[in-house]
């Protein structure tokens, strides 16, 4: 089985974001960038499937600026085989990314595309589902467990209230949730090996996809700041404060 794994370069998980004073967006200058944490889980899952013998080739793809190549190298160091960078400095919305990925799928004919359920920058949670719709493929979102079952893929999903299992006819789309696996750290030898792996560069124009945004940002502002309250001495004081506030 051949797997395609899209990865996104985002502000690092641990960075506290700052809104620009002119309210045009978030300040990305000199900020640490990393692979979207959910995408690390996708790459890890594909690599584990390859180690288990169910997957023969892992292709990783990223839509972003030149530096997104570093994100692809990280995925290659984790165990992916080759990369595709669709280079653009534009801010591409999930719909545009899904359209580009649909073209990559047409070229590469993977049996499975594994994506992160959301990117931690814009928190949209859309790209995988949109790609599934554009391809008319079935989708298993928020995956907790994957199991190959003949020409089907059983996906156990994290849903409100518990877990749900669906069976998808391959080819299919999976988006991953937090508990699917714990991504590995790439070893130094693998990081060195990854430098020799192939990354092909493309552009949205070469794919003939219109990525012009549908949404115009009006403002980006700081959320209302919550003021810290008071420290209470003991449980009895806490209970009396809560009673006074009418909370219990």
């Amino acid at each position: 089985m051949k797997v395609l794994v899209p990865v996104k370069r985002v502000i690092d998980y641990n960075v506290k974001v700052r809104v620009k004073p002119d309210k045009s967006g978030v300040d990305l200058a000199n900020v640490k960038m990393s692979m979207n944490p959910f995408d690390e889980i996708s790459v890890e899952e594909a690599v584990r499937m390859k180690e288990a013998g169910t997957v023969t080739e892992i292709v990783v793809v990223s839509v972003g600026p030149q530096q997104a190549q570093e994100t692809l190298r990280t995925a290659l160091a984790m165990g992916a085989d080759r990369g595709i960078l669709i280079k653009t400095d534009a801010n591409v919305e999930p719909l545009g990314v899904a359209k580009l990925l649909a073209k990559v799928v047409a070229d590469e004919s993977p049996d499975l595309v594994i994506l992160g359920k959301q990117a931690i920058d814009d928190d949209s949670n859309q790209t995988g589902q949109m790609l599934a719709a554009l391809l008319d493929w079935p989708q298993g979102t928020f995956a907790f467990k994957l199991e190959k079952d003949g020409d089907k893929l059983k996906v156990t999903r994290e849903v409100d209230g518990g877990l749900q299992t669906v069976s998808l006819t391959l080819p299919a789309i999976v988006t991953v949730d937090l508990r699917l696996n714990e991504p590995r750290y790439a070893s130094l030898p693998n990081i060195m090996k990854a430098k020799k792996k192939e990354i092909v560069e493309k552009t949205p124009e070469e794919y003939g996809v219109d990525i012009s945004p549908r949404l115009t940002v009006v403002t980006v502002t700081e959320p209302p700041v919550r003021q810290a309250g008071e420290k209470v001495e003991d449980v009895a004081t806490l209970v009396s404060k809560l009673k006074t506030a009418g909370a219990v």
């Binding site: 978030v26 949109m130 700081e222 806490l238």
Partner: protein, 309 residues
Amino acid sequence: MAVLVIAEHHHGALSDATHKVVTAAAKFGGDVDILVAGEHAGDVAPAAAKVSGVRKVLKAEGESLRKQTAESMEALVVPMMANYDAVFIAASTTGKNIAPRIAAKLDVMQLSEIVDVVDSSTFTRPIYAGNAIMTVKSSDAKKIITVRGTAFEAAGNDGSASVEDVAAPEGPFKSEFVSEEMVKSDRPELTGAKRVVSGGRALGSADEFNRLIVPLADKLGAAVGASRAAVDAGYAPNDYQVGQTGKIVAPELYIAIGISGAIQHLAGMKDSKIIVAINKDEEAPIFQVSDYGLVADLFNAVPELTEAL
């Protein structure tokens, strides 16, 4: 203008989330219809017809729709969109699964988890785990929107809409429901609860989580939540997770126990009315958002609190 609200319902009961989505849809403007699809749609439709301000309820039942898979819901909703300007659906796992599929089919860029409707093309939504709030204008002819329920009041129940049947789409689809394991609980549903008691990693084990958090929640009639660390460690089920990538809650009272307060957790609960934090580390970031902070060993403080209430 007309808006299609897709109802959220569980075990034959209309979810309160639907009432909140109707409020958001009413703010968008035009006629508001509710689509009730899936198993028990017949039981849910009368409740949907009572939601204030609703023009009509569309009821779709059938084997293919039973579990509201994204594939079957796409087949049901996309043809209906000839008559509607927008889809509004709760940002639940069901809504998040279905909405982008409909949006892509209609060549629309979806707006996820909106917290305000400014006008019929301008919406506000949090980004970066709620550390920035973005207002965007959509140039698409139709709008596909998921709604963060905690940002809207629930619509009332003084409506009397008519109920119409809609044919379920013909299957089979390339995705089939196999099974589900639902957590059984008599407690209120986490996202709609008036009170929430959440436990973190400091509890140390699932046994301690159940021994300390659960009785306090029961005493308060509260829902139980957890930090990601507690869920990852196996102290609590997955769907207890409060935070950026889990549940977003805004109860009257939120009690965080042994939770340090990572930004991803704060993203899920900082709109709560009163926040109480119990943590032995007085430097824990949770105290920066809490109204009442108690620096104490939770293993002593929590039983004492449960006893005192």
